[in-house]
Symmetry: C2
DNA sequence: GCCGTTATTGCAACTCATTGCAGCAAGACC
DNA sequence: GGTCTTGCTGCAATGAGTTGCAATAACGGC
């Protein structure tokens, strides 16, 4: 039940290291290429845990290499998402938000009043998922779900 | 359980007419002004039922008056939303989608496979709303909810 | 190490939306 | 109808993201 913090750099755990280390091979298995631009983004991502906007990632890549091109970053993010390495959702304003190596699938809750954000745990999400599954046979992508409203404090 | 169609012009029902007719007064009660630009957008909206993107509305205003300025339209939409005359959500890509005179509060469901969309009725939404209300005292804005996933046919 | 295939990049143009600001004009008051 | 106040508009710049296309460069094969 913890508020979602801003993206925090953090030391990698060993399994995270493994995850990042395997990206190169996961790409090449699919006939995709391991380019300097992709290396750069993966380096930035491996220093990130939690939630970041696409624009943030572009900026962080630029800090490392000012010649970074936004479209390349966004396209690489698409590729990494296909590999399941990141997932994206949208903030209350529709802007992209990436989850980096999420510990568990989760959605997001945003308060319009104070701007605070929380994760919707798989547990809480289960009720949403189950409802739509039962009623319509619809498979909800929980990690893309953002729910906006007012938190207890702001009501 | 009907798929959400594209925005369809339709004759106004009498209570809708009343709703649009009262906009001018609702604005002026609040010290706001009834300008030609607002008249134009309201005229377009009154010919619309269901769901439209912000960009669509800009374009339709432009058809009537090519000198229409996008920022004015978006700002007017904000005002109308404060009056409760329209409500917006976001499509799967984060773009704005307006509900015009919705019969009832509802959310949206989008299939990534076929692109079809459905409304989440207040009824179905109740389970989502109740869960977050009970667990966190969070008041969900159902009309801003968009859930993405795969529909029965696409699985 | 060179070559060819083709995935990827850089770039420019474009879409959708938001914002600051100076000038304009609704509409209340007389 | 004239005047004043202040809410709105037009405009230009900006931010976030996407797309088409020609040139580039991974990397598998030799
Ligand atoms: Mn929104
Ligand atoms: Mn999305
Ligand atoms: Zn709050
Ligand atoms: Zn479908």
């Amino acid at each position: 039940m913890q508020p979602v913090g801003s993206p925090t750099p953090s030391e990698s755990r060993s399994d995270d290291l493994a995850a990042w280390g395997s990206v190169r091979d996961r790409l090449r298995e699919r006939g995709l290429r391991w380019t300097p631009q992709r290396r750069a983004l993966v380096a930035v991502l491996s220093q990130t845990r939690g939630h970041v906007t696409g624009a943030d990632l572009v900026e962080r890549c630029r800090e490392q290499d000012p010649s970074t091109i936004p479209s390349t970053v966004y396209r690489t993010l698409d590729v990494l998402e296909e590999l399941g390495i990141v997932r994206h959702g949208h903030g209350p304003d529709g802007r992209e938000e990436y989850h980096v190596l999420p510990d568990a699938e989760h959605g997001h809750l945003h308060c319009r009043g104070c701007g605070a954000a929380w994760e919707i745990t798989a547990d809480e999400g289960a009720s949403i998922v189950a409802t739509l599954e039962a009623a319509r046979g619809f498979a909800v992508d929980l990690s893309h779900v953002t729910i906006v409203g007012r938190c207890r404090a702001c009501r």
